[in-house]
Amino acid sequence: MSTRFKKILFGVGPTLGLTLLASAGMAQEATEAAAEAAPTLDAGNTAWMLVSTALVLMMTIPGLALFYGGMVRKKNVLGTMMQSFAIAALVSVLWMVVGYSLAFAEGNAYVGGLGKALLTGIGVDSLSGTIPETVFVVFQMTFAIITPALITGAFADRMKFSSMLVFMAAWVLVVYAPVCHWVWGGGFLMGDGVLDYAGGTVVHINAGVAGLVAAIVLGPRKGFGTDNMAPHNLTLSLIGASLLWVGWFGFNAGSAVAADGRAGMAMLVTQIAAAAATLAWMMVEWILRKKPSALGAVSGAVAGLVAITPASGFVGPSGALVIGLVAGVVCYWGATGLKHALKYDDSLDAFGVHGIGGIVGAILTGVFAMESIGGTAGLLEGNAGQVITQVYGIVATVVWCAVATFVILKIIDVVMGLRVSAEEEREGLDISLHGETVH
C-alpha cells in the first residue's frame, strides 16, 4: 500500500494547490447519487436535518466550550471557551467561501473543486437527496466547526489566539476539507469502501492526531507535572459532556440524512455505546484508583460517543455495547497510561480520547458491521477484509493529518510564533489575551 501513500502525500498537496488556483468549474449536485435516488424534498427528513444541524452546533457551543472550559484553571476558562466560539465563527465563513466546495464539489480523488465556492449555484430549491442542499451545507458546516474545536484541547492554556485562528483556518482547508472529501465527498477512501458513518476518521482521528502533533510542537504548559493543574470547575464539564451526548444524536442519527429506520438504529447504538463506555471508564477508575470520578464518567461517555461515531450506521445494539466497553477502557489508558508514558502534554486529551477512541471505533466498525443494517458485512459476518480496509483508512488519514498539521504549525511558528509569553501564560489567557476575568 506504500505506493498508495506516496500518491496521497504527493497527490493531495499539489492537487489542492492547483484546485485552489483553478478557476471555478461549473456547479454540480453535491451528492448526485442520492439526488437521483430521491429527487423530491421530504419535509420529515428536512425537519430532522434542520434539527440535527442545530444539535451539532450545540455540541461545539456551548457543549465543547464548557467541557473544555471546566477542565482548565480558572484563569484560562474564558480563553478556552473563546477558542471554540471563535472557531465556530471563523469556520462558518470559510466553509461558505471555499470549504464546502473543496469537500463536496466535483473534484478529483483527493479534493473537491471550486465549483461551489461561495456556494455558487445553491438556491432555495437545490436539493441534496431529499433535503435542501442549504441544509446539507450547514449540517456539514457544523462538522467542520467541531473538528478544529476539538483540537484546542491539546494545546490548552498556552497558544496565542491570533496564531490559533490562523492555524485553524489553514487546517480546515488543508486537512479537514480534503479528508472529508476522501471519505464523504466521493474521494478515494469512499471508493475503496472505508466505512465511516458519522466521522470517526474525518472528525475524531483527524482532530486527535492534529492535537497530538500540536501538543508536541507547542510543548507542555509551564509547570506541567509540578504545578497543580486540577480542573477548576467540573460542573461546567458535566454540562458540556451532557450537551455533547445529547447533540451527538444529531451527529450520528443525523448522518442518515433522513428520519428513517437507519437513523433510529444509529440513535439507539449511540446511546448504548455512550452508556457502556461511561460505566467502563468508571469501573476501571474505581478498581485502579479506588474512586469513580465525575470527570472519569464524562470522559467515558465522550470516549464511547467517539468510538460509535464511525460505526453508528453499520452496527447493532450488541456491537455497540462491546464498542462502548472497549472504548471506555482503552481511552482511559489513552488519557492516563499512554500519555504519562510518552510525557507529552495533551492537556485535555484530544488525542487520548478522540484520537484513540476514533481508531478503536474505526477498527471495530469493520468487526461488527452488519449487512442487514448498513449493507456491509464486517469480520463477525465473515468479511475480514473490511477490517483491513478500515485500518487502511485510518493510516491514510493519520499520515496526511500528521504531516500537514506539522508543516502548518512550523510555518506559523516561524512567521508569528505559537505560544504566549511565559508571563502571559502565568497571568492566564483570560486577562492577558482577552482583557477579561471571571470574578
Binding site: 477542565m71 497543580n228 487520548g352
Partner: protein, 112 residues
C-alpha cells in the same frame, strides 16, 4: 486588650461562636483560609493526575477582647474547636494597642 486569632476546622465555627457569647463577646471577624501543617489532605485524581492537597480549608477567627476575659476566651475557643484529631488548629494571641468603633468613634474597651 488582646487580639485573639484562632485557626480552626470550618465546621467548628458555629460551636466556637456560641461558646464565646456567654463570655460577653459581642462580635468577631471570620475569614476563609487554607492551612498547611501536620494534617495531610485527601488526594484528588483527574485522569490519572494525582494532586495531594497540602493546603486544607480552615477558618480564621479574629476577636478583640479585654485582657480580663482573654484567658477565658482562649479556653472557650480551645474547648469548642477541639476534636482531638490532628488539624484542630492554633490560637495566637497578640497585644492590641488600640481599638476604635467606626460608627461612634468610641475607643478601646467601649469599642468592642
Amino acid at each position: 486588650m488582646k487580639l485573639i486569632m484562632a485557626i480552626i476546622k470550618p465546621f467548628k465555627l458555629d460551636e466556637v461562636r456560641e461558646a464565646l457569647t456567654p463570655l460577653g463577646v459581642q462580635g468577631l471577624t471570620v475569614s476563609e483560609v487554607k492551612g498547611f501543617g501536620r494534617q495531610k489532605g485527601q488526594t484528588e485524581i483527574y485522569r490519572g493526575a494525582e494532586y495531594v492537597v497540602n493546603f486544607l480549608p480552615k477558618v480564621k477567627i479574629e476577636v478583640a477582647v479585654n485582657d480580663d476575659i482573654a484567658d477565658r476566651v482562649i479556653e472557650a475557643i480551645q474547648g469548642a474547636a477541639r476534636t482531638g484529631k490532628i488539624g484542630d488548629g492554633k490560637i495566637f494571641v497578640l497585644d492590641l494597642a488600640q481599638a476604635v468603633r467606626i460608627r461612634t468613634g468610641e475607643a478601646n474597651a467601649e469599642a468592642l
